[in-house]
């Protein structure tokens, strides 16, 4: 049989991929490569998900955006992939055997990215500072209006030379009939301020790991310099707290899989930028399972004296003199208890699958996936409205998410070739 006559290709049924992070992008590209028609739905204004917020990736220590933006570009340019940004799936219902109907909501994109020339006059004109550039590595770049600040005064629309701004755009509803669905909804950070011992929210220098990533990012406002948020000077001591909220029966019983390597990566970069900063990582088990991860954790480059302490701090509290943060812990390997002063504390581990945070706004309908008590999608065999990959399925790093995405794409493509 000629390759172009293969049966599955004649099925123009859409595969709906929900979530435009690395997993969603991987699944979309694999499906499109196999001749399937894909609609990729992403709630933010650009593809890339959590990885697009990272400064560097482990274990290569490369910039995170570089491999990502080329795959995003491929997705945007692929004739078989339709990308819906600023969109979410409001309803997913089972229709006749083997098909589903999806109701997508498009939030209005006031600035048409196809017409925007990135001149920036709208940003200057806006009195509310509601306009800012979108994700830096989008090709082509465009500006975005923050709806929460916009007063619809119309000044930006008047000054835009290419007529790209239309403030009258409204929420659009799009109904799609799809054959299969892949959930690639990834993770979000969870609020752990109710877990009192972590001191989350009690001091400007107690940050989550994603906040810290942005704070020390080369592309960020500090240009890679490691300074405290409270007074802008380099910290002397930073504590990375692992399993904050995770492996914790009160909140997230699971291990979030990515945090140990993430903390090591951040600590190594802090050291690279300023040898003098003392970095402590408080861990329970240092999970370095993937390719080259263990050796990464051992890296002894000059001055990379990162102190690994096995223990979960019992108390993290701003010091009353205003000079730093106290961390009280027991080093379980030496059984010594200590209280140490740190200038910054990075909390790692409080990440949960996005779907748990969307309840009850979680897609309604008869084909919404079943999720377990932690919010991970439960795949039921024989059902392809709940193929899942990436963190939406289980805690997974980039390579694992992408592998799962490819496997999900194969599952659907294989099923379509063999309906019997």
């Amino acid at each position: 049989m000629d390759a172009s006559e293969r049966d599955y290709e004649s099925k123009k049924e859409i595969v709906l991929v929900i979530g435009g992070g690395v997993a969603g992008i991987g699944a979309a590209l694999d499906l499109a490569g196999a001749g399937q028609t894909v609609h990729l739905v992403e709630e933010s204004d650009h593809l890339g998900g959590q990885v697009s917020k990272l400064d560097k990736l482990y274990p290569t220590d490369h910039c995170a955006f570089c491999p990502l933006w080329t795959d995003i570009k491929r997705c945007m340019e692929h004739p078989l992939i339709t990308v819906h940004t600023l969109s979410c799936v409001k309803e997913l219902n089972k229709e006749t055997a083997g098909s589903y109907s999806a109701l997508l909501l498009h939030a209005p994109r006031y600035i048409d990215e196809k017409k925007c020339t990135f001149c920036g006059r709208c940003e200057q004109e806006c009195a509310e500072s509601a306009i800012h550039p979108g994700w830096e590595h989008l090709c082509p770049p465009s500006f975005v209006i923050d709806e929460t600040l916009c007063t619809k005064c119309g000044n930006c629309a008047r000054i835009c030379p290419s007529g790209a701004i239309d403030l009258e755009r409204a929420v659009e509803e799009i109904r799609l009939s799809v054959g299969d669905v892949i959930w690639a909804t990834g993770f979000k950070e969870a609020d752990i301020s109710h877990l009192g011992e972590y001191g989350s929210g009690s001091h400007p220098d107690i940050m989550t790991s994603m906040e810290f990533e942005e704070w020390i990012s080369e592309a960020g406002s500090n240009r890679g310099a490691v300074i405290t948020r409270s007074n802008g000077t380099p910290p002397a001591h930073i504590a990375f707290i692992q399993c904050a909220g995770a492996r914790d029966l009160r909140m997230i019983p699971s291990c979030s899989a990515v945090c140990c390597m993430h903390a090591l990566k951040q600590a190594f970069w802090v050291k690279r930028r300023n040898r003098k900063i003392d970095c402590y990582i408080f861990y329970t088990d240092l999970r370095t399972v993937g390719r080259d991860y263990y050796r990464y954790s051992l890296r002894e480059f000059e001055g990379a004296d990162i102190k690994l302490v096995r223990g979960r701090p019992g108390l993290i509290h701003p010091l009353p003199d205003g000079n730093g943060i106290a961390v009280q812990f027991e080093n379980t390997m030496t059984r010594e208890r200590e209280i140490r002063r740190f200038d910054m504390v990075v909390l790692n581990g409080n990440i949960q699958p996005s779907l748990i945070q969307h309840r009850p706004a979680h897609p309604a309908g008869t084909a919404a996936p079943r999720t377990d008590e932690e919010g991970f999608v439960v795949e039921e065999s024989g059902n392809t409205s709940d193929c899942a990959c990436g963190f939406g399925l289980q805690p997974a790093d980039v390579p694992e998410s992408v592998i799962q995405a490819s496997a999900a794409a194969m599952r659907i493509t294989g099923k379509r070739s063999n309906p019997g």
Binding site: A3, S162, D292
Partner: protein
């Protein structure tokens, strides 16, 4: 006479406030090769594009130069749109006079204007001197060659056959199943390993699209993306198979820890695989069992975590704890590696199932004691800070999976890389199943130690990657790009001047250059299916015999010449 149509974009004042367009137009009109200079408010709008297309047709220009914003902004899109209007892509030049000029020299209009003029002259030079690379097309052989019939290879084979493609599945041993045949039950669901394998094995037996070749030994590999030829022997016959893609699923080897913890010296010190065998054939006899983790792993010789040993110990420890009442089960570890939700729950459940865990440090490992068979294990409990002596009838050593010894050879035959550990290398972590050679994929423990579940996922993943190649009846080399869009070009050899020194062969990151014997010696040849147009060969060639036509030395020389026209202050 070559005619170039030059289009200058004002970008609604973003460019022409800093760059003097009258000056530019004046300078360019003196150039005899410029047929028309047109200034447009905004090239990327429909009206702008329409104007460009009609002007090109009117003047009959065969080359187009666009001076506008950066190729990372709308510039690339404009060039592509013009290509759609009929001008060959390599005859469209793009010069950035916005991000690279007007926007950064706003306070020096004179300098900005001269720079814009120079950049445009450089663009014209590149258009006039750039040439088009050769290309080649390969008819894709619509079948896959899968090396290894463990869970990864089986999953890949079944997936590809399900999609309608022929599969040749090679396996070194007599039966399919890989290491999964040697295992009793799988974690974490406690599935029976042979029940897990059965559907795959049945499929390869009954599906006419899959041909299984047992006892296969590869003798040679030829060909390239889309058309590989593997010659191998299988059960006494020599066979040659053509395939469009190759999936490497050759798995890994078990490490036997000779000399560690009394292995080979004391009876009843066994590896996990040996324990599996005893469980399978019912010969397991133990009362007090001790598992030791990281035996020969996470040390200086093998500085990696083998992923599966902790969950395997949890699996076998729980089983023994359940099956042997009154006995004790200890797991001595340096950190239990159970990332994620399922595995972490597995760990919690094992903890409450009566298995005891003791943590030791790398520099103070457990000591085995006994006469001719093990009797006790001494371990320094790092958490409690005390030395403990555990009665032991059976000590099970968790050893890592290690790369197959012939990985290096196989990699050479295929033209892929192995990493410093000896496992097959992927190109980037974001493309973990792909290698530096298009059409060759890696999955399972050949890539990195994984569980059978993950091996199956990777096999499926490799299969979908293979599908995107196999479904094309032909592949043009120029489409095998590492970047969005087509390749920038292929290297081309001028045979007359090539001295056959071989620098390019050594320098090529994709093994695309080779030496061919000619009458007078050797000459370099470029395999376009492998060449990515990076140009490493160009810069190591002693006499410029190898060039990328789109970026040849005449072009570069001319661009340098035009860069600072007149050497003004």
């Amino acid at each position: 006479m070559e005619t170039i149509a030059v289009f200058l974009c004002k970008c609604f004042g973003e460019i022409d406030t800093a760059v003097d367009f009258d000056f530019l137009t004046g300078e360019l009109s003196n150039d005899p090769s410029v047929a028309v200079i047109s200034t447009i408010d905004s090239l990327c709008l429909e009206s702008g594009m329409a104007k460009i297309v009609s002007l090109i047709k009117e003047t009959g220009s065969d080359r187009v130069l666009i001076a506008a914003c950066s190729p990372l902004a709308k510039g690339g899109f404009v060039a592509d749109s013009i290509a759609e209007a009929g001008i060959e892509r390599h005859k469209i030049g793009l010069v950035d006079i916005r991000e690279g000029c007007a926007w950064i020299h706003g306070d020096d209009p004179g300098g900005a204007s001269r720079k814009a003029r120079d950049l445009i002259h450089m663009g014209i030079a590149s258009l006039q001197n750039g040439e088009m690379s050769d290309d080649m097309t390969v008819t894709v052989h619509p079948g896959a060659l899968i090396l290894g019939a463990g869970p990864a290879g089986l999953a890949a084979a079944v997936s590809l056959a399900e999609t309608g493609f022929e599969v040749a599945l090679l396996e070194r041993s007599k039966d399919p199943g890989g290491m999964l045949r040697l295992i009793s039950r799988c974690y974490p669901g406690d599935e029976n390993a042979s029940e897990k394998l059965d559907p795959y094995i049945k499929e390869i037996e009954k599906n006419p699209l899959i041909t299984f070749y047992p006892q296969a030994k590869i003798m040679s590999m030829e060909g390239d993306t889309g058309d590989f030829t593997a010659t191998f022997s299988s059960q006494g016959k020599d066979i040659s198979i053509r395939s469009g893609v190759i999936i490497v699923a050759t798995g890994a080897k078990i490490f036997f820890p000779a000399g560690l913890y009394g292995y080979g010296e004391l009876k009843n010190v066994i590896t996990q695989m040996e324990l599996e065998r005893q469980i399978l054939n019912g010969s397991l006899e133990t009362k007090n069992t001790v598992f030791i983790q990281c035996v020969g792993a996470r040390d200086t010789k093998r500085p990696y975590c083998s992923t599966i040993c902790c969950p395997i110990s949890l699996k076998n420890a729980s089983r023994i704890a359940g099956d042997v009442p009154g006995g004790s089960v200890f797991v001595l570890h340096r950190g239990i590696m159970t990332p994620g939700n399922t595995l972490e729950k597995y760990y919690r459940d094992t903890l409450s199932g009566g298995v005891q865990f003791i943590r030791f440090e790398e520099d103070n490992p457990p000591q085995i004691g006994g006469g001719d068979h093990v009797e006790y294990v001494e371990v320094f409990d790092a958490i409690n800070g005390i030395k403990r002596t555990i009665e032991a009838d059976l000590v099970v050593l968790s050893t890592p999976l290690v790369p197959n010894t012939d990985n290096v050879n196989l990699a050479k035959m295929l033209g892929v890389d192995v990493d410093s550990y000896g496992f097959f290398s992927e190109i980037y972590p974001m493309h973990p199943l792909e290698t530096k050679t298009d059409g060759i994929f890696i999955c399972g423990s050949a890539r990195w130690p994984v569980s059978s579940d993950d091996a199956i996922l990777q096999g499926k993943g490799a299969a979908i990657k293979a599908v995107s190649y196999l479904r094309q009846s032909e592949i043009a080399a120029s489409t095998l790009s590492r970047v969005p869009g087509s390749k920038s070009g292929h290297a081309r050899v001028v045979a007359e001047s090539c001295t056959g020194c071989g620098n390019c062969v050594a320098a090529c990151p994709f093994n695309a250059c080779g030496l061919e014997r000619m009458n007078s010696g050797f000459v370099s040849t470029v395999n376009m299916m492998r060449c990515k147009g990076c140009g490493n060969c160009v810069s190591v060639c002693p006499n410029g015999s190898i060039q990328i036509p789109e970026h040849n030395y005449r072009m570069v020389g001319e661009m340098i010449h035009m860069a600072f026209q007149g050497w003004e202050l």
